[in-house]
Symmetry: C2
Subunit: 145 residues, 2 copies
DNA sequence: ATTGAAGCTTAGAATCATTATTATTACAAA
DNA sequence: TTTGTAATAATAATGATTCTAAGCTTCAAT
């Protein structure tokens, strides 16, 4: 579990902007998030982080995640009132939540769709954030022999 | 606070389908929800319900709301991990969450937009539910003299 | 009317993700 | 080194929601 140089630089720059220090824990939590393309909960991050940093505490994981969010290096993803999930994919995208596996998949959002989404708002409504999520099941489309 | 005849019938029919009884509490909670066009939390419903039914308990309000949801007379609306809100507007619609007032407004969703939303899903993803929400502020568009 | 079973309501306890608190540690500036 | 500030760790507290246990209603069958 090692943070690539470019990510490390991004983190250090972002932290510097907020007068925060690049600590081992912050780097490690960021590395954990980047190492898999899923959307772990704070608790799952904690479990993964402990593997190579056994002394890290859950509170620190929460703190680091919150700081990564305020640095805009990570996004929070919420489904109903389930535990918050963390997502290092900064591109504008939607989420698909699989009812079976409980996994979350990213879904690309074409820019023109985003625009037509905002166009449904009545006059006087200014949206700073649009959230789009799907719930359903993935069906296996592998052709059988 | 009185439940209109038609709503009362809807409730009784829906409950009958699930072999549930039309109790005073259930009717009252439904009436509370219908009486305002906002999206109250369970706690807010509880406060309103107590005004004309002081003996009702918070647990009962939660129970009634959950039953109304399973009857499909009411929808749950979640924003991040804020308390769940309840919405008797059954039409397919999006929500606008005002950062200033913390109120939630319904936004109509044209059917063709809904269709194009589902069309962004890759093959093999079957969405049973689409959630679309906006966060932002309402700007006053009243023309000044 | 009485009984019994099933469904309801209530009060309070329990749960669980998250946040707050506090003491300790790390580290930079003086 | 001393001093001050920020970060971490352990633990307690919070708050929405759910669960549990007990006592009520309702209603069908006696």
């Amino acid at each position: 579990m090692k943070l690539p140089e470019t990510a490390k630089n991004r983190l250090e720059d972002a932290l510097k902007q907020l007068n925060l220090r690049p600590t081992q824990q912050r780097e490690h939590v960021f590395a954990v998030l980047l190492s898999e393309r899923d959307h772990p909960t704070a608790d799952e991050v904690y479990v993964r982080a402990k593997k190579s940093m056994p002394s890290i505490s859950l509170a620190t994981v929460y703190n680091c995640l919150e700081i990564l969010v305020s640095c805009k290096l990570v996004k929070q993803v919420n489904f109903d009132r389930e535990p918050t999930r963390y997502c290092p994919n900064l591109a504008e995208h939607a989420h698909f939540h699989c009812n079976d596996s409980h996994r979350v998949y990213d879904v690309d959002l074409p820019q023109d769709l985003l625009n037509s989404l905002k166009s449904v708002l009545p006059k006087g409504y200014e949206a700073s954030k649009v959230e789009l999520s799907f719930h359903g099941t993935r069906v296996d489309t592998t052709p059988s022999k």
